[in-house]
Amino acid sequence: MMKSIADKLERQLPRLVLAPTVLAIMVFVYGFILWTAWVSFTNSTLLPKYEFQGFFQYVKLFGNDRWWVACQNLAIFGSLFIFICIALGLLLAILLDQRIRCEGAIRAVYLYPMALSFIVTGTAWKWMLNPSLGLERLMHQFGFTGFTFDWLVNSEMSIYTVVIAGVWQSTGFVMAMFLAGLRGIDDAIIQAAQVDGAGLPRIYRCIIIPSLRPVFFSSIIILSHIAIKSFDLVVALTSGGPGYSSDLPATFMYAFAFNRNRLGFGAASAMVMFGAVMGIIVPYLYSELRGKKHA
């Protein structure tokens, strides 16, 4: 009798062990998302109210100029950030893959920004791009007295400083992924192409780069995920300014939900961000998991 209870317990053990995590995920991830979703349909300001008011927060959100600036900035930042990181990352990976001396050291240098927090990166670049004492001063002292660089305080250009710092931080990571991809390519295929008399540029263009398609795919997913969540970098670099010219959705949400205490409005913007990320991630995870089952 005792033994069978112990047996039963033993059989349930895996489920029991997992239970706290499952509970936590259900509450802290899914429950919280539902809560935020619900609040986004209410007229909550400082404190949450729970009467359903329909979609008016979303209507207000998409009628809000600042929100559109944030979305437009995300489009600019996201596309440039992804494109430049991938282009540079691929270039550096291919160059590093040419039997380079001190490859390890060079790779380590390219990758160290990944270990820094975006706040540190932002602080460093804020200083580098300082309109009077930074790069501009450097160029002046080199003799280029006509050189001006005021992007940090120029509301037309401030979002591009975020691109500069973001690219600096993430390129090494993309390079590492491409390098791993390059090392995984079967040499036999390449040798066969060489025997057929194909030149190196042609081999890269027609064989190697196309076979890196999965790496392109995951890089784009990861980088767009980083871009949508970007918050720290903007805060440290420009604080969203001048004015709100370099706002991103993440800083927008923070400003309204926490500084201005407009809970419902902030929740609505958070839900839009959530929808955007899920639109990218869920199909990706689905294809990954399915791919594994077929393999």
Partner: protein
Amino acid sequence: MPDMSAGNQRLSISQTIGRWLIYAVLILFALYFLLPWIVMLLTSVKTMADIRTGNLISFPREFTLEAWKSAWSGACIGVKCGGIKAYFFNSVKMAVPAVAISTLIGAVNGYVFSKWRFRGSEMIFSLLLIGCFIPFQVILLPMARTLGNLGLAQSLSGLILVHVVYGVAFTTLFFRNFYVGIPTELVNAARIDGAGFFRIFFRIMLPVSKPIFVVCIIWQTTQIWNDFLFGVVFSSGDTQPVTVALNNLVNTSTGVKRYNVDMAAAIIAAFPTLLVYIVAGKYFVRGLTAGAVKG
């Protein structure tokens, strides 16, 4: 890489030029990645007078550690003028337990998901996986309220809880993917011999888990140490982690800006994760690609 020179020992002139070009580009990019770090170091050991007359990469005319001293224990952050020392230790007090707890939970979870699958466990795993990717803006508001209700608002314990909850998805993923590669026959044989759930975990799984523990701990340490969003939302004043304090130091402009102090503080804030990267870079990269690519 494709080896074009196989067979002929002598490189043609164009190939030699090509090699030099590759090295030139690689070194140029290495300088680009190193530049902000060099500038930070140089700026942090200059006097303010030196900064105003020199430029970003000019050598300090007078080497001084005043800025470092001030950043560590004298600079004013908010109303307090004790430097970032206290905040640095806040980060330590937050990161150590959060990393330890989330890693241990992840290890056991990963063990269940890989070796004790039950009906629905794959489904749970997918639900957990999505938790890795949600934009945290969508849980900030309810989390702030929950921490308030638990009496953990603006406390280090609250921050630890948040980091554990949202870190477990990642740590579980790491361990699950690692344990999948360990032969299940080993586990089955032990089961036939009468070994139970925990006995197998401690005797068979844990002894081979060292590499994944290293990867996981490094990943979590970097994530938690570098976090800004949770820090800025869930802490205030005395309980702020170092990233938040650094940002406050740099971005609150009362009195004269002391760029040398800003840079010294940024280096101090970056130091632990950078050290981890230098000491265990190999594992760091492995974590990045494992966490990201195999998402």
